[in-house]
Symmetry: C3
Subunit: 358 residues, 3 copies
């Protein structure tokens, strides 16, 4: 499985104005990181700060931005393009297209073991894997792929070219847009966590909403998106959710927001567009995040954030013995502040100052 | 799909003393939140503090408590009842019952593709979905529903009216009580995480216990409850676990305790009854929590808690630049306390005081 | 299901020099913890500090180390051995071997409902459960067990004696070594979370690497290990991952490292050998951890750690009212330090000192 350098550049010429410096007939066997790329591999320089590593790279060719062109040319073959990381993303897509064993020939391919309700409506080019279940009145648009063991509920709707991997659940009445990718084990449309406390017990509030997912959304393995209590949980276009993410009921996630692994968003929170939420971060319920808000990993959002920016709240890691001392002292922090204030007053009085301290 | 206001009140009259103010013939098309309810929708006022929103609501009817009755009647139709949130929960249940497409007719319905071991015992009214697997000697009581692709191990026992959604695993020998609900991807009875360290390796301790789950328990999507090492992991009646929750081996969760998404309880911890554990919170192993303990989201319980109450431990989120300054200073907190103490002694000596500071 | 004390000791005599004090004909019905063991149960004393509990134990027999031998003998029957916890681990394995209903007879047993691609290669003794899917060119070595509903992708390789439980996914091209155990819902080889930002959208970087897992690895329920972007994600020999753990793309986890439930490792991090990562802990991307590093539960590793040791970073839990005061003050911590510094300078000036404070 090899690609000619010249063919790579030609394949992307419609979208990019890239210049290949070097022999277009060189064959590339694999894509590889800059540090480890061999003479048969193509790589890229994502950021000028790594330019120092260029000279030592044995790669067949390096994709670089204009600022690194001189250094790259001195090393050997290179492709010069305005946004080398984006260009490299397109190369990975090209690579996958060329090399993936095309299990489906483009026509409809329904595995004989799959269970498809007679009332389901499957458009042209739909591929359904082994033991998949498609419920009554489910609608699968053109080019949808449903992996082995996936379960699509009654009245669900899957948009064109969306791919569900193996073992995905889309519950009754939920919908996905076009060109989405859903990884194994993801659960879309389980009941939200809603109970009314009554006489020391939890009385179930039936979850009557559904989940509506836009176009070009990617959903990671074992991630859960709950159905709404009364209205729908909404994931807008272009959202990317990593693995093991939890999205509570009635949440709205704005377009092109990305959330890393193990992040959680509690019920009825509204997250803006173009946000990022770091791994393991938690957004509490009923809060709002403005567009372009960035939450660091493992931080807990306890209040709405109305201003774009970068927000963090995590305890700095330390040697355990040091941590123990500081953590113990932290429990007296308010008292320490009071003592400091008193001391300042004593000292100020002694020196005749009267400034107010908080 | 509509319900008459008068019929709703009549349906719940056995349990509630509710008063409908307005035309019983009005038809309700949907349930909706107070803010967005249209003239065809029924809503509720969960808490008197939202009373200000009442006047602006276009809802067909609002369920309210006695305290909000006057304001509600001024607006239009309302149902007045002592616990409006609980009443509304019952309405959602009524709604679901009336509108859910009844896939099962009440008789036994075993999907022809399911694999049911000849030694399994299925009571009357059991429904088994496509590709489900029921192991040897498994016992499914009356009215149990097993979703598509669920796997029930050998010797497992599922109590009456319990519903397993699609893709649930109940491992060998585990049991659930009556009227439980288990959402997709949940794993009940995987091995606990038990190893004896030996010569730099981890030697597996076989997990010989099982999982015993009480009545009326709800278990979220992709939540895991491990089997015990020697004895059983126990989840008592009425416990509600959200999605992606981890319950370690030998844990006991007391009756009517609720745990939000991504919470984790390490092995051999004992959690009391009527507790709540917030999303992403962690309870370390071998600890005990008394009844009526409430743990905030993302807090880490590092010691047993013997007194009912509300406990929290999370780093407050802040603008990243501010956080960096405070987090860096936090690493010197113990040293700062020492400096403050010294300063106090200096000042006290200067002023002749002798009080002890910690 | 009982075992004779004498038979237990005999079965392990090849590996251990253990001494049984008491009647070898006593029959043991179960294994149990020290506190609750009845006269029909075998137990162990894992640590000398629990020696005080010995006298009160009603157990049929207690496994103890040499240091507790005298106290144990005074109580009754005991087995004295150098490493009682390791010895007990072996007893649990013996117990499981003797008592597990042997579903497989040792020969190949392929459930008739399983889908096995004609190009897959299954060695002798492979067991495949109901509705399992084995992809094209997949290789399953001798003694592999594939649980019900598991999906093994094209070109995947499963090493000898490895057991996949029900509902496991091993994606295309991924490999596991020998004697591994994978619990339900685990997803090995879903796409890593890789996107190039471009014009406000996320452009997918196809994940062209795979996952390579060594020998004797155990992987918990619903745990996810992502495939590499260009090269492989690697889990070395003897690693133990608990449930709901997230391993990002290109990560390398060193041999015999253990990670507790809900832990997460972001992309391209390298974790050394013999490390432990506590429950809910997060390791950020591109970091390195040396061998023998131990991270406390719920701590966030934000920088590489080059020195073996025990590291912690979590906010101490407190009564909520106390926490609120301290958390609020924490936001002024840097300012408090500045005020303290100023006060020290004032005081020093007054007393004529000139020492530098930070």
């Amino acid at each position: 499985m090899t690609l000619r350098l010249g063919d790579i550049v030609a394949a992307l010429a419609g979208e990019f104005d890239a210049r290949l410096v070097g022999d277009p007939d060189v064959l590339v066997e694999r894509l590889a990181p800059l540090e480890s790329a061999s003479a048969a591999e193509l790589t890229f320089l994502s950021h000028p700060k790594y330019q120092g590593k260029l000279a030592r790279s044995a790669a067949a060719c390096v994709v670089v931005g204009p600022g690194a062109a001189a250094a790259a040319m001195q090393r050997g073959a290179c492709i010069i393009v305005d946004d080398p990381y984006f260009y490299f993303a397109r190369i990975t897509q090209l690579w996958k297209r060329e090399h993936a064993p095309s299990s489906a020939s483009g026509g409809t391919a329904l595995h004989p073991s799959a269970f498809i309700d007679p009332q389901a409506r499957l458009a042209a080019g739909v591929v359904v894997g082994a033991f998949a279940c498609i419920g009554a009145r489910a609608v699968l648009d053109a080019g949808v792929q449903v992996g082995a063991h996936s379960v699509i509920g009654n009245d669900a709707h899957i948009g064109a070219e969306t791919r569900l991997s193996a073992r995905v659940t889309v519950a009754d009445g939920c919908s996905l847009g076009e060109r989405c990718i859903v990884h194994p084990g993801a659960v879309i449309g389980a009941d939200g966590f809603g109970f009314a406390p009554h006489a020391g017990r939890w009385e179930k509030i039936e979850q009557l909403g559904a989940v509506r997912i836009g176009n070009d959304v990617e959903i990671g393995a074992n991630t859960c998106i709950d159905r709404g209590a009364l209205q729908d949980t909404v994931i807008e276009d272009g959202v990317k959710l990593d693995n093991l993410v939890q999205i509570g009921h009635n949440v709205r996630v704005g377009a092109h927001t990305a959330m890393a692994g193990c992040a959680g968003v509690a019920g009825s929170a509204t997250i803006g567009a173009h946000c990022t939420v770091g791994g393991g971060a938690v957004v509490l319920g009923h809060l709002s995040l403005a567009d372009h808000v960035h939450i660091s990993a493992a931080s807990v959002v306890t209040r709405s954030i109305h201003k774009p920016g970068h927000y963090t709240g995590l305890f700095p890691i330390d040697d355990n013995a040091q941590w123990e001392k500081n953590a113990a002292t932290l429990k007296q922090l308010h008292a320490l502040r009071e003592r400091l204030k008193m001391l300042e007053q004593t000292t100020d009085k002694a020196s005749g100052k009267t400034e107010e301290k908080s």
